[in-house]
Symmetry: C2
């Protein structure tokens, strides 16, 4: 009985492997949270997912591939959300909304995002993924800045360059704050928002 009358909308036909694959990624995220990337061994992941090392290599070619898939899964979430978010015309609102969404993502998946950042240099695939994410962010910030009256362009005091720096500020600030607590994250977010607003000329 494959994809029969599954009540759900889609065609289903969910292979057993699909479940396992999710289990592997879930386990990986949990391990990343509690042990960190280096300490996490392929055997650990397999064990957590209820299979042996050998079986895991049926799904993923290496530890790095597992993590890459996990990062992809997490980041796609973000892409979805950012695509949905209609651009509010009011800069202040747009900024507040963007920051709030980002806080939520970091609250939910902080360890994965931190790992992604750490591995960006050494694992090209992850670097790719993260760069793309950053570019989305930078584009969004650039739009807001220009909308707020900052001159478009790539010179150091123009929208594009400033957006890039602000993006890195947010990334790094969240990276650290998300290690501490949700409260710290919220505070850090407020600080970033304030600097963003100031840079946009929306605060005296």
């Amino acid at each position: 009985m494959p994809g029969h009358h599954s009540a759900r909308g889609r065609r289903t036909t969910e292979r057993k492997g699909d479940v396992r694959e999710r289990a592997i990624l879930d386990t990986c995220e949990a391990l990343l949270t509690h042990k960190g990337y280096d300490a996490m061994t392929v055997g650990d992941i397999a064990q957590g997912a209820g299979i042996t090392r050998g079986a895991l290599y049926f799904y993923f070619g290496s530890k790095q591939e597992v993590v890459t898939a996990l990062v992809a899964r997490t980041v796609e979430h973000l892409w979805e959300r950012s695509r949905v978010t209609a651009q509010t015309d009011e800069p202040r609102q747009a900024i507040a909304a963007a920051m709030q969404r980002t806080v939520e993502l970091w609250n939910e998946h902080g360890p994965v995002l931190r790992t992604a950042i750490d591995l960006s240099l050494t694992v090209p695939e992850i670097g790719e993924l993260w760069m793309h994410t950053a570019d989305l962010f930078i584009a969004a910030i650039t739009a807001v800045l220009e909308h707020a009256g900052i001159q478009a362009g790539a010179a150091p005091d123009q929208a594009s360059a400033m957006a890039r720096a602000l993006c890195w500020m947010i990334e790094r600030t969240f990276y650290h704050a998300s290690q501490e607590s949700r409260e710290k994250l919220q505070e850090a977010s407020a600080t970033c928002e304030h600097i963003w607003l100031t840079s946009a000329g929306l605060i005296t």
Copy 2:
């Protein structure tokens, strides 16, 4: 003939091991530059320094210890410089000077600094070192902000919190720009300086 009339001021008595130790660190920095941390093996370092793996373990207990020592050496440079730099009273000058010094350090030791950042999470000793460096920086930024009229305090729109966010902005922006080219670094520095000035209320 140990430390005889060595023309130099100090007591000399430089052991052979001191030279080797330096050679190891120099090799490590070169390898970090050309291969990156993960690809770099203890054997590589030893070979580059003209000894065998076994001998290297006489100097350092592990690959991580080698890198930690290298980071320490590099960061101490920075501490020196920042201690020397008398605090100019004029905020604009202070900011420009700080940025320039930072650019130089990243130009000279970009790969080491990037590695230090990458390993901050996983190697506590390096995390320690880097945190201390960041704290110096944050204190300096805080001082400038307060001097420029930003209210002291840790609330999101007060000097201390803002300084922290600005520090991370600079760290991350330099991290990326230093991978590209000296020109990019210089531009990135200008952008960070502009945002810093704006946040300090020194630019309309």
